[in-house]
């Protein structure tokens, strides 16, 4: 049977928080989730909606996710991050729906005892998210719309 999507899918453990949200992302909330007295460094990546692509004006972005699988794939990324680096906590939120220019599409926050690990783990997470997680965005222009990265 076809899985009935929830509005806000999520996965939560002591050290991992993953959410696909329809409402606004609160970066501060994620930074507070990963903050830890044993950690000296938190690295956060915030992805926002840009006003142009290849000099063409973007009006808004529409995000769509295959939510249960997106949560699973994000969980895999988080688990790999824990294997590869001395990460204490990780939080990932990705928004879906229609986003205006400047709005936050994704936030990834990672806390580590040592900052080098936090930078590497956070960059790995966003790079891998863009490669494997079933989320799609459509750019809406004045004269049409395009699914990003679909065509060569």
């Amino acid at each position: 049977m076809f899985h009935q999507f929830q509005e806000d899918d999520f996965f939560m453990e002591d050290n991992i928080k993953i959410e696909i949200l329809t409402k606004e992302i609160n970066a501060l909330e994620l930074e507070q989730f990963v903050a830890n007295p044993a950690c000296g460094g938190i690295v956060t990546f915030t992805g926002t909606v840009r006003n142009s692509t290849k000099d063409k004006k973007v009006l808004r972005l529409d995000f769509e996710a295959y939510e249960p699988m997106a949560i699973k794939e994000l969980k895999k990324i988080a688990e790999t991050v824990f294997e590869k680096w001395a990460v204490r906590k990780i939080a990932i939120q990705h928004r879906v729906g229609s986003l205006e220019i400047g709005e936050i599409a994704v936030v990834i926050a990672v806390s580590c005892p040592h900052r080098k690990d936090a930078f590497a783990a956070c960059e790995y997470t966003i790079d891998t998210l863009k490669q494997t997680v079933p989320i799609w965005k459509k750019e809406i222009f004045e004269d049409g719309e395009v699914w990003v990265s679909a065509h060569p």
Binding site: E64, M69, V106, P134, I135, S149, A150, H151, P152
Partner: protein, 80 residues
């Protein structure tokens, strides 16, 4: 056998809908399904990649399908 297809992103536009039922030979694999879809919807050939998921996991071409299984078409992702 019958396979239920669920589409996301540009795949929805290509099959002109969110879902689709396909009749395919018994013991068909994901690879066979892909060939079937590329024939029925040549626009899939223009995509950078075309992946498939069953049970919320990516599956390879060799994966054997079962009657009434749901297969999700995963066109090139672009989150973030």
């Amino acid at each position: 056998m019958n396979i239920e297809i669920v589409a996301f992103g540009i795949a929805k536009d290509i099959i002109d809908g969110k879902m689709l039922n396909i009749s395919i030979s018994d013991s068909a694999s994901i690879g066979d399904l892909k060939k079937h879809l590329l024939e029925q919807f040549p626009a899939f050939k223009d995509l950078v990649s075309l992946s498939f998921a069953v049970d919320e996991e990516y599956q390879k071409d060799e994966y054997l399908l079962k009657e009434n299984q749901t297969v999700v078409i995963v066109p090139p992702v672009s989150g973030g």
